[in-house]
Symmetry: C2
Subunit: 222 residues, 2 copies
DNA sequence: ACAATAGTGTCTGTCAGACATTATAGC
DNA sequence: GCTATAATGTCTGACAGACACTATTGT
């Protein structure tokens, strides 16, 4: 009745390896683009996947063996030229994980030629991560579950690409009130130990980090 | 080979009617949801549409007879429960037009029950418009091609839901440098005539409008 | 004591909001 | 003159960045 359209889900899974933003890639075993590097992805399975997000989680479970702490829909890439098999729509997601996750990580800055339009999808994911990092705690998902403020600041500097002032950074993080102190501390050498934190369990992530912070509405009125 | 998946495009077409944010709806002639109100949408036509955005433009042309000055992909809504015919994916777009566009406009604040999950899609579009309005000139697309600064400010106040200071608003708009003066002026009564502006032709829209939320008065305390 | 990093206090330039003032039209 | 709106000028509180300062560990 209607010409069949290929519907797939692809996931841009990112982490920070040795202070470099990396993406997980898989070498394709089959055509098309056999042997080339590609994002983990696959067909939507109408029988098992309740929706596209379910499919993304299933694919990450099957192909990477993980369940990421952060996953969000990125955009849908579609058209008749991106897949030699025909008109296709790829619902792309991006996910962030701790660097302890096992995978074939590739720095996003030096990617070879990739299958399909996956290079463009990765670029969109990196742009989104960068732009959201300016006003959210997203980069914290690139760290292990617990971390120090110094580590967190370093992650932000890596993602944003510019150094941040320690005092201002801590002031902002405190205002956001998105971290919980964890009992215990972390120490590397002969130095003062650092307090350990973890992300608060919450449903919303898009609080403002810098500049456009909602100015402490609290004070106003009663 | 793979179970067929329904791929459609739906467009949330918005404007400002009498200072109220409205969305264009169409009464469905056919099942499913025959007779109910729904977003303009339709199947992707693999033969004619180069990609999903092309399909969105085609649908707006066929069903509304327009080509909007602003169109952006919103998100993809998918799953096995949103369409009684089976597993479906709707690539949703949102578009802004001038209020002179002919259509059946409905205020977004008082929507009846809609077909499919279109109420959720509209909510997502409104949220996106609101959040982008804080740091872009997007609301200008809700006006005719030329307008005065007073009209523009009123639009922003409508979309953002809070009054803005005239001086600050103009300072910001000037800094953004996104408007061109148009020869001529506009006058309503026995008053000083207002300068007329139009949007500059450009490719990027996401400049910063205001760095911070409007500060709540509070001359009172402290 | 020193070294090294964690964490805080203080100053200051900048800027958004508040609001006064001037400008331009018709009467 | 008056009224109404357009457009601009000026002041001020608040905040982000800069940076000096204190705190806490091991040797």
């Amino acid at each position: 009745m209607y010409p069949s359209i290929i519907v797939t889900v692809d996931v841009v899974l990112m982490t920070l390896c040795l202070d470099v933003l990396c993406v997980a890639l898989i070498r394709r075993p089959n055509a098309p683009f056999a042997g080339e590097l590609a994002l983990p992805g696959g067909y939507v399975h109408a029988q098992e996947d309740g929706n596209a997000e379910d499919a993304a989680y299933r694919i990450l479970r099957e192909k990477m063996g993980i369940r990421p702490p952060y996953l969000e829909q990125l955009a849908t890439f579609s058209g008749n030229r991106r897949d030699p098999r025909g008109w296709s729509a790829s619902i792309a997601y991006f996910a962030l994980v701790s660097p302890t996750t096992e995978a074939t990580w590739q720095p996003v800055s030096k990617l070879q030629k990739l299958a399909f339009d996956h290079a463009a999808i990765i670029q969109a994911a990196v742009d989104r991560l960068r732009s959201k990092s300016a006003y959210s705690v997203l980069p914290a998902y690139l760290l292990p579950e617990t971390f120090t403020l110094a580590e967190l600041q370093k992650i932000y500097e890596q993602v944003l690409g510019s150094p941040l002032d320690k005092s201002s950074f801590r002031r902002k993080i405190k205002e956001l009130d998105l971290l919980d102190q964890v009992a215990g501390s972390f120490q590397v050498g002969n130095q003062r130990p650092a307090q350990i934190y973890r992300l608060k369990k919450m449903m919303t992530f898009d609080r403002t980090l810098s500049q456009s912070a909602p100015r402490k509405a609290g004070r106003s009125g009663q």
